[in-house]
Amino acid sequence: MDIFLQQLINGLVLGSVYALIALGYTMVYGILELINFAHGEVVMIGAMVTLAVVNMLMASGVDLPGLMIVAAGLLVAVAVCMALGFVIERIAYRPLRRAPRLAPLITAIGVSIVLQNVAMLIWGRQYISFPPILPSTRHDIAGAGITDLQIFIFVLALVLMAGLVLLVQRTRIGRAMRATAQAPEIAGLMGVNVNAVISFTFILGSALAAIAGVMVSAYYGIAHYYMGFLLGLKAFTAAVLGGIGNIAGAMLGGLLLGVIESMAAGYIGDLTGGFLGSHYQDVFAFFVLIGVLVFRPSGLLGERVAERP
């Protein structure tokens, strides 16, 4: 089996999920200059809600193909997460828009803790497994394997990203988003409803997060109330890697981080003669991040901009 190709495939699939989550971070940051620490928990809620719906449908004995059941769960999860994103912004961030920058960071941490513990109260501390109802046929490409699920995740992620780019570049609301990101006050003077744009951004990011959550839990086969933390951290790292606030950067950063991680997991032992095991893959990701930032302080695709007063 070709390790390089296999790790490349795994990395791209994982990276496309990171990219979806990173988009949520980067869009919010582009408009509000706020690190939405609670975004990872929205991903987790998306996964948990989907699993709850799927398990309920399975238990009720509905005779539907597996893909349909997951799609139903996904729809509910997207709706729940959109509402959640809207509420989070309304309660925790909007009152603090004129406050010092660290204040909304603390409320974001608060929201994150609250969501984690609410999830724990509802779904318990144990790992919830994803029922094996999705097709998982394995295809062989040049000595490496790729499953239906992996193809599906990767393609769906690409379609969603393309859709997002179209939305931001071609539609009226997309133009309003870009205007708000450039200069919120001027955008307001030009007739953009800034508050509505910000709410829309949160809702959009949360919908992507819900889908990413379902992808992750289907991919690894489990979900857990604590899963959002590390995912959010990685996705945020990806967003910074690409240049935070930059949509193309988030996609590039996500894919890159996924590939780097799985390559590190595959090769780190060989490269260091067995001195460092594959559990150093997370360290590797952070080393790459620090390295990139030292040489390109605004990320790979970030522009050098002065800090907004």
Partner: protein, 371 residues
């Protein structure tokens, strides 16, 4: 203001100072008698967290550099102590030697982290420091093979207690015919260290360096134009904050007798940051208040169980599960109603009051002056 009023003010201040000193001196015995020795332990941790929060306050509060990996320096201090004074390597160096060494080592780590990263803008710096904290933790977790340095996830146990000349602080001692456990002795050691840290922080605040930090926080370009070597001054903030973390780490290791990578996760960094921001960034009394509240609150919330029984007749939700939920809600509510922190400094409070208030204030001052 006339002179006699000031004099009486000063007298009040003296009285308050002496009263505070007395309260601090007898606090562990009051707490121990009223709430049990478990709370004396918590009191020790309160002092430890005050030191940590004041250390981070130098970086975040004074210099305005958002550091999300502060716990790494705490870990460096703690592991240095653990490695040099435990059966793990068979080394048993004295505490008075290791503690300053820990401060030095943590300060070096601070410089090491700061040198390549300090030209990054605010939020990029945050994620890099966060990454640094995780790197240190993952290394501590995995450096048990092929050469066993940190003993991996099991951590290092049987660490020597802090002491000097054969006497150790963790032994219980006799006072007025009572057996007093070691946590009381640690209280006085930690109190002395915390007071030292408060003193250093106070002296730094109005020093040339402290004013340079504040200048960088407010406007880096302007600060540079005024002739401040921003890179060196920022590095100094990092090293200074880190060394406070290193000392606290050493004290923690000696006090606890056991360290493992689990104690130094990201949540810990975030907790310390919350103490600083929630209390009132850059304001020493505020930061101390934040540290006290956020250390005591999670412990106090353990009493939810009995409360639930009192109100509902049974335990409805496991209090351990509810504890962090309430904690998170408290963070949100406090920040929404007091965005500058619970006890901000006068300058910062003025920055956040509305323009009309400031105008009224100024007019009042003008009126006073014209009288």
């Amino acid at each position: 203001m006339n002179w006699s009023k000031l004099k009486s003010d000063r007298r009040i201040a003296y009285v308050a100072f002496i009263a505070l000193g007395l309260v601090l001196a007898v606090a562990p015995f009051l707490v121990g008698a009223g709430l049990g020795n478990g709370w004396v332990r918590i009191l020790d941790f309160v002092l430890l967290y005050i030191m940590l929060a004041l250390g981070l306050n130098i970086v975040v509060g004074y210099a305005g550099l958002l550091d999300l990996g502060y716990v790494a320096f705490y870990a460096v201090g703690a592991y240095l102590y653990a490695l040099l004074a435990s059966p793990h390597f068979g080394l048993h160096l004295p505490a008075w030697f290791i503690l300053p060494l820990g401060a030095l080592a943590a300060g070096m780590f601070g410089m090491m982290l700061g040198t390549p990263t300090l030209r990054l803008r605010g939020d990029y710096l945050a994620i890099v420091t966060l990454g640094f904290g995780e790197i240190i933790r993952i290394f501590l977790n995995n450096l048990n093979s092929p050469v066993n340095i940190t003993n991996g996830p099991q951590g290092i146990s049987m660490i020597d207690p802090i002491g000097a000349g054969g006497a150790s602080l963790s032994q219980s001692f006799e006072l007025f015919g009572m057996q007093v456990p070691g946590i009381y002795a640690y209280y006085y050691l930690f109190l002395a260290m915390a007071l030292l840290v408060v003193f250093i922080s106070l002296r730094l605040q109005d020093s040339r360096i402290g004013r340079a930090w504040v200048a960088i926080r407010e406007d880096e370009v302007a600060a540079e134009a005024m002739g401040i070597n921003t890179r060196n001054i920022k590095l100094l903030a990092f090293a200074m904050g880190a060394s406070f973390g290193g000392i606290s780490g050493g004290l923690f290791a000696g006090f606890q007798g056991f360290v493992s990578p689990e104690s130094f996760n990201l949540m810990e960094s975030i907790m310390i940051l919350c103490m600083v921001v929630l209390g009132g960034m850059g304001h020493i009394p505020g930061v101390i208040l934040g540290a006290i509240l956020l250390t005591v609150l999670p412990e106090a919330l353990r009493y939810i169980g009995p409360l639930e029984e009192f109100f509902f007749g049974r335990v409805v939700v496991d209090p351990a599960d509810l504890r962090m939920l309430i904690f998170g809600l408290a963070l949100i509510v406090v920040m929404i109603f007091r965005p500058a922190g619970l006890w901000p400094s006068k300058v910062r409070r003025r920055e956040f009051s509305s323009e009309a208030e400031v105008l009224a204030h100024e007019q009042e001052a003008l009126y006073d002056a014209s009288k």
